[in-house]
Symmetry: C2
Subunit: 353 residues, 2 copies
């Protein structure tokens, strides 16, 4: 099996370096894995003139899993719209056809007090978002900014979904729900958007036809934004489109109080490579200082082991090591501690003996 | 001055009845106000075949202010898409041209413990959302669901904004910010949507040209969804488009722990009538039992007094009466108490002597 690392920008290289140490430890212990590396994001703009070269995309598609660090930063704010680091990320997601974005919002027992929410509301929180990742308003055409005859400008994006785009991501959500509580809540704004109504109808039809054992409910996205604050533990698996998932999964991630701990997986059809990345960003403000929390990157590696590298038992082992490090008091600055990025990596490695 | 009441569906008639008592008390005390009433929403579908008749829209546009209760309910779920109660609400907003939706997220001192968040994070919270209300993906064309040659369906909505649509709502936000802390945070997804980039550029250009005294910052909408949970008191005035404002203001409203307390105003150009409504919905589950909290409706009346009826001192008086009722221990079921809707109305009236 092969793993391609795309360290990217800001704190990306720092955190992926620790995930790499974890992967190398597992290789020492017998895991058969080849690790490669390529430029991606702002660093690729600087070196190659574009955030995602055709070579890097080809490499990514030929790998079993891709571990991305983070992309973006103020230095690339003036790039043309289609050549910014974020555009590279969208091109990578789309090019790899990883349409299902799995984002756990998990509250670690040792960190429950770090949440803004009262402890009782978040202790034991374990939500899995399944967010559509290669469609919707992120990719719809027509799009762009035009100047009208009267000198005004007009900006357009198109929110669009087809039956098959909805079905494939819903299948992923239903299948994952079977391994959990058998419950899915699907979010949309079917009351004001026809594309949301289509989403709702297609998800319901698929459940009725193929997943009658799943308890499916529908919730308006604005209501879900409220319910996540009011009582987040009412949720198990949440299914969303691309844009609602972006906002709702970030909101839910912050509920846990430890954004620096949260990984994500983006997967496509069975057997195709997956893309793994922390949900945190490139954090230019702390980049280069060696103080970022590498846990989300290490836990993204764990997800890669589970979903793309055929090693679910190693995934569980890595996750347990991170949890043990936390239980042992390991804390980077974002968790109120003083540990460096490397020391946090050490603390995790210590539990992988 | 004239006030048109549209009690609507569910708990709408129950809560607006209490707001009406408050208005009538103010009239007894010397306010010159004519109150009318019309059918709107589901009740209008039942009686007139449509949620908003041309007559009702004409009445609304001829009034100084419109006080809406709430619309919608399961009985109208099977209406054609364009004839549902929500479609009537969108037609009313658009027909009245009330493009700026003012949604305070205010934490009442007496209720701070009801929040999901730790008290220190929400005590004294006072955010004012200014949400664009008559454009964006709610209204953009093309829209709809079509069946493709291969039998699949395709759902489309169009997210679109022009310079002037952005400028007019941004002006409202900047002007309101001048009466507060002089700070505006504008939310969009300019990193993935060109229409969001246009939003950002136009808001910035307007600030630079006409409101140099305002401190304007831009924040990605997903980050704002997180920051509202992490540290809501960092915000004063928040400017958003229609869809992001829908979700973010609901999230912020729930942070206060007392959704049944939150009013809203929708206003347009100076001198044009405003539309006032609680942010809570029609709550079919508790409708007809006389237990709903009328405070949001009463506070919506206060906003009408301030923004459309030329009586800001009466607005402050009504707001103080609601606060005094709370301080005196008045609590409906949503606030953990046992008071009926009418008793809560009595408690407010008692402070309007
Ligand atoms: C960086 C940005 C393009 C991206 C998105 O909006 O999808 C990010 O917010 C995420 O959720 O992974
Ligand atoms: C009822 C619905 C159409 C409406 C909206 O989405 O605008 C509501 O959620 C609101 O925010 O007032």
């Amino acid at each position: 099996k092969t793993l391609l690392m795309l360290p990217g920008d800001g704190i990306g290289p720092e955190v992926t370096a620790q995930a790499r140490r974890v992967a190398e430890r597992l290789i020492e212990q017998g895991l058969a894995l080849d690790i490669g590396e390529a430029r991606f994001g702002g660093v690729a703009i600087d070196a190659d003139g574009m955030p995602l070269t055709a070579d890097t995309l080809t490499l990514a598609k030929a790998s079993d899993a891709v571990l991305m660090g983070a992309v973006g930063g103020p230095q690339w704010a003036d790039q043309p719209y289609g050549n910014r680091p974020e555009a590279g990320l969208l091109a990578l997601r789309s090019g790899m056809n990883v349409y299902a974005n799995l984002r756990p919002a998990l509250c670690f027992a040792a960190l429950a007090d770090a949440s803004s929410l009262k402890r009782a509301l978040v202790e034991g929180l374990d939500i899995l978002f399944v967010r559509e990742l290669t469609g919707g308003v992120y990719f719809g055409e027509p799009r762009g900014i035009e100047t009208l005859p009267d000198g005004q400008r007009r900006g357009v994006n198109t929110h669009v979904y087809t039956t098959s785009e909805i079905q494939r991501v819903a299948r992923t959500a239903f299948a994952l729900a079977r391994g959990r509580k058998g419950e899915v809540v699907s979010a949309e704004k079917s009351n004001v958007m026809e594309a949301g109504l289509l989403w709702r109808e297609e998800v319901q039809a698929l459940r009725d036809a193929e997943y009658p054992d799943i308890r499916l409910t529908h919730m308006l996205a604005d209501n879900m934004a409220m319910q996540l604050v009011k009582n987040p533990k009412q949720f198990d698996v949440i299914l969303t489109d691309n844009l609602f998932g972006d906002m709702l999964s970030d909101e839910a991630g912050m509920l846990t109080g430890s954004l620096g701990m949260l990984p994500s997986a983006a997967i496509g059809d069975a057997g195709m490579p997956g893309l793994y990345e922390p949900i945190h960003g490139s954090a230019p403000d702390i980049a280069g200082r060696g103080v970022a929390n590498p846990s989300a990157s290490i836990l993204s590696l764990a997800m890669a082991l589970r979903y793309s590298l055929g090693a679910p038992e190693l995934a569980a082992k890595v996750e347990a090591a991170v949890e043990a490090a936390l239980d042992g008091g390991a804390r980077t600055a974002d968790l109120g501690g003083t540990m460096t990025t490397a020391a946090m990596g050490d603390a995790v490695l210590a539990h992988l003996a």
